[in-house]
Structure formats: structure tokens, C-alpha cells
Assembly symmetry: C2
């Protein structure tokens, strides 16, 4: 096992499919060198990078957003504590608003159970959408912001 990793090795260690790694590379999320026989050779730091991608995806970020955040990370060096701190603080804030949004939706849902009040003007649930706009830019929900384009 050399210093550099093959796609197969990265796939195995991260649980991400080879095809997905190729895809991430096309999208600029990760980088590789090539061996003499044109095989991808990844620095070991790619493992953490892919790990970070996975975490961000679970948090609901799109690959495009992740790519932006990753600009702030070193390309080939292993991610340090400070690097990670900058990025994770940002993501935590996004998670926070997402959680706040879903919580508010749930509370209204709970309050409205059985009340039958779904009238367009009066029900807080119905008007929840208005509040989305006030939370500012970015994806508040993983799905459902499309209609605001």
C-alpha cells in the first residue's frame, strides 16, 4: 500500500461508490494525480475530504454548496482543526435554521391537529411559507424551495 490511494481503495474506505468519486472529481470536489498507466492516485487527505462531503450531504447541503465551502479548505493537505472549524461553524448555522424551520412546522402541525382550521387566511400552517422568505437566502428545506425561484 503506497502513500497514494486508488479509486477502489478510497471507495472502500469511505463507502462511496467509485462512480460517485469520479463524479465528485468532475464536479471539482476532489482532485487526483495520475499514475503512469493513467489510474487515479489520491493523496491520503482525500479520505477526510470525502468524509466531510458525506457529513455535509447528511446535513442537507447540495454538492454545489459543499463545493463552495470546500474552496476554503486546503486542496491537498490534510484538513486541520482550524480548517474544519471554519467550515463546520458555517454548516452548523445552516443546520440550525433548518431545524428551526422544521420545528416551527411541526409545532404548528401539532397545534392544528384536529382543529380543521386549514383556511387559507387564518391557519399558521398555511402561512408558514411566508416565513421561509424571512429567513434569508439559502436552502431552508432540502426540498421545497424550488417554487421560490
Amino acid at each position: 500500500m503506497a502513500t497514494e490511494l486508488s479509486v477502489g481503495e478510497v471507495a472502500e474506505r469511505t463507502g462511496v461508490a467509485v462512480s460517485a468519486l469520479h463524479f465528485y472529481e468532475r464536479k471539482g470536489l476532489i482532485r487526483s494525480e495520475r499514475t503512469a498507466s493513467n489510474h487515479r492516485a489520491y493523496p491520503r487527505s482525500v479520505i477526510r475530504r470525502v468524509t466531510v462531503i458525506q457529513i455535509a450531504q447528511r446535513a442537507g447541503l447540495s454538492l454545489a454548496e459543499i463545493a463552495m465551502a470546500l474552496e476554503a479548505l486546503p486542496k491537498d493537505r490534510t484538513i486541520s482543526a482550524e480548517d474544519w472549524g471554519r467550515v463546520s461553524t458555517n454548516w452548523r448555522d445552516q443546520l440550525d435554521s433548518r431545524i428551526a424551520l422544521l420545528t416551527s412546522l411541526r409545532d404548528n402541525l401539532t397545534g392544528c391537529i384536529g382543529c380543521g382550521c386549514l383556511s387559507v387566511k387564518e391557519c399558521p400552517l398555511v402561512n408558514e411559507g411566508d416565513r421561509l422568505a424571512e429567513l434569508g437566502a439559502g436552502p431552508h428545506l432540502l426540498a421545497g424551495t424550488k417554487d421560490q425561484r
Copy 2:
């Protein structure tokens, strides 16, 4: 303004595009009669139905899931408090687990800020994915369950 509503009227009152209403109809989420000139004529109850669809989408449910839940609702009658109660309780539970998941993710993210511990075996964040499986079926995250197919 007759008892029945045209697509245009429904679109205006619900804020949902005409093309989306057509789409919902193809997917079986809503139903319409036709006028003599083949225009769609919706019962007034469609407004609440569409409202419910919007709420569910904000909660992160897919149209397929919403369609299933809507099976339990009366087709053409206005949705009663009891009808709505059955459905919303179910959705609240789904929202609850989604919130729990994101909260756990955020807390781990917060705990890990700056720790640089992203090692594959030790970091709780890295292994968050394992826990997804334990929460049972259904979409735990709006995105990100795909890799479990």
C-alpha cells in the same frame, strides 16, 4: 363564480402553478370533473387538498408519500377535523424523527468543531450514517438516503 373552480382559479388561490396542478392530477393527488368544453372543474374542496399537499412538501415529504397519506382523505368532500387529525399525526411523527436526526447531526458537528477528529473510526459525525438505518424505514433526510437503496 360558480361552485366549481377552474385551474386558473385554483392556481391563483393556492399559489400553485397551473402546470403543477395538471401534474398533481396526473399523479392522482387531486381530481377534477370536466366542463362541456373540456375544461377542468374542481370542487371547492380541492383548495384544502392542495394546501395540505403544500404543507406536507414543506415538511419534506415526497409527492408519492403524500399521495399515500391522501388515500386516507375523502376524495371530494371537504377535509374534516378528524380526517386531518389522522394524517397530520402521522406527518408530525415523521417530522419528529427528521428533526431528531438533524439535531443529532448538529450537536455532533458542534462538538467536533475544531477537534480535527474526523478519523473514520472514532468521530461520532463520521458514523452518524449508521444511526440512520436504525431509525427505520422512510425518508430520514430529504436528501441523502439514496445511497441506501
